[in-house]
């Protein structure tokens, strides 16, 4: 208890150093928390995306760089319809970055008769009936001041707004739906879709259907949850691995920073440690005090870093223009990991300085004065 009290007194007695060390840790933790929050938000969006409408899962091209770059022939839907357990299928084309006025908005290409488009609930207007018509989410309508009858340019086509819908899912309400043929025309991919979403019979178990489809159609990947969505895309994997690299780098750089600052503190305070040794403190006791000081400083930094991280995640999402479909998600586990990393930084960064402090030779140091 007294060791803790003495350590806190020591830290308070050197406010500038304590603050700067904590700040260094805070930046590392903030990076980690921000990345985890963005990845968490993206996974939640992916989960909503996979379960678009009443679909159980989505089919994507195997080994596509990213789910959004997947290409499947729409004719695949007909074969799928004949698969036991499949109640309905709907080919869907995703158009990303085709609305320069609303960066990040997604345009969904779906046939009017499919369960996806039929499931939209309109606050005004109706579903499209012709290829030159579009329905927009209420979020997009508000952002672009769109009303029924207004024209909206998607790619090189000008489409008439005939309906405004609300689904309650942010990335859908901030996007738009167009006929599948229109989406194919805009992307120049006639007869193709990004994904085919699948609705199963009420009596069919998703796992069984997934096994059947994978066996029958070896060129596709069945994505039934967000984790799978993340794993299915090479880019997603790269982003995931990049995130891991950032976390490790933050740990290493943060650890070196903490070690450097603590080492400077130890060198500057050699007399203090020599005195403690002369007063009967064992090397282990002295090392423990330095380690405790290091951990307390980095935990303080971690607390600041958690706040910075939450704010930083929002800024990061805005910076990459993904705020439409990614809302940073900070879970208790994300915060816990941030704190854990803080403690780890304190321990790792404090080990060598603690060792140095424990091996100060009192006779040499005290004789210098």
């Amino acid at each position: 208890m007294s060791t803790l009290r003495h350590t806190v007194s020591n830290l308070r007695g050197r406010p500038a150093r304590t603050f700067l060390t904590a700040l260094g840790t805070a930046l590392g933790i903030a990076t980690i928390v921000a990345l985890l929050a963005v990845v968490g938000g993206a996974q939640r969006s992916a989960r909503a995306f996979v379960h678009l409408g009443p679909a159980e899962f989505g089919l994507f091209q195997r080994d596509a760089a990213d789910p959004t770059t997947s290409i499947l022939p729409t004719s695949l839907g007909e074969s799928l319809d004949r698969t036991p357990g499949v109640a309905a299928t709907a080919p869907m084309m995703l158009l990303i970055d085709r609305l320069p006025q609303a960066s990040g908005a997604i345009v969904f290409g779906a046939e009017a008769g499919d369960f996806l488009a039929r499931g939209l609930v309109f606050s005004s207007g109706r579903l499209y009936r012709a290829d030159n018509e579009i329905v927009v989410g209420d979020g997009l309508a508000e952002k672009l001041h769109l009303a029924l009858g207004r024209a909206l340019k998607i790619g090189h086509l000008k489409l008439a707004v005939v309906g405004i819908y609300h689904t309650g899912i942010a990335y859908q309400d901030s996007g738009a739906f167009v006929p599948l043929a229109t989406a194919q025309q805009i992307s120049g991919r006639q007869g193709e879709a990004t994904t085919i979403v699948v609705k199963l019979d009420a009596t069919t178990r998703p796992a069984a259907a997934e096994r059947t489809i994978t066996r029958r159609f070896p060129g596709v990947t069945v994505v039934s949850d967000a984790q799978q969505a993340a794993r299915s895309g090479v880019s997603e994997q790269l982003i995931s691995q990049f995130g891991l690299v950032i976390v490790v780098l933050a740990l290493v750089i943060g650890g070196i920073g903490v070690a450097n600052t603590m080492l400077m503190a130890v060198i500057e305070r050699r007399t203090e440690f020599a005195l403690l040794s002369a007063l009967g403190f064992s090397g282990r006791q002295i090392a423990g005090r330095v380690l405790l000081e290091s951990v307390l400083t980095t935990v303080l930094g971690a607390a600041i870093g958690l706040l910075f991280g939450i704010l930083g995640a929002r800024l990061l999402v805005m910076a990459i223009g993904a705020q439409t479909f990614v809302t940073p998600y900070v879970s208790a586990w994300t915060l816990g990991r941030g704190l854990l990393v803080g403690v780890l930084l304190g321990v790792l960064g404090g080990i060598y300085p603690a060792w140095r402090a424990a091996h100060v030779t009192p006779a040499a140091v005290l004789a210098q004065h």
Partner: protein, 231 residues
Amino acid sequence: MAGARVTVDHVSRAYGSTLVLDDVSFVVEPGEFVALTGPSGAGKTTLLQLIGSLDRPTKGRVLVDDVVVGDLAHPAGFRRATVGFVFQLHYLLSALSVLDNVELPMVAARVPHRERTQRALSLLEEVGLGDRAGARPSELSGGERQRVAIARALAGRPRLVLADEPAGALDTHNAANVWRLLGEVRDREGATVIVVTHDIGLAEQADRMIRLVDGRLAEPAQEISAQEGTS
């Protein structure tokens, strides 16, 4: 509690090719108050560090009671249990209060908090600083800081008190005060006290003087020398 018996047995200490102590031998009896004198560079501080297990002799051995201090695997434990140090520079930790500073040796010995605080307050009363327990060292005068350092040296109930020029940086009044406190330590606690000093006037108040010259023990005839009074 009886003081410790100190035996310095043919001790030499060299740093590289420089011989700081050369074949020094003497015995300090339990409860004795000894002044260690000599000119600068005579090896007084080195000898004190060897006795206090802060350093190891190159040759010979130092015994505190039956313990050969140079052979200790864990000298910090020995210091914690046996020795109290007072340095010329008080070495109080500026980030801690006066009370916390006095408690330090007891923290090392894991004395319970309540007992530790009571003893530290009692010691501060004895050195006349009972009302300054919450102050920071920077708020005290030089004499007061050295009195705190003496209180800290006594906190672990040492049987051997080693003081290196404890009054060296103080004016005459404060120096006499510090010397009186060290005398009381011997009288009240029964501890053996060895004090390094240049001041022959103060040294004469000790039970015995041991004089070092150029790392060697001076002849008995030289032990009390008027020359010391000027340094």
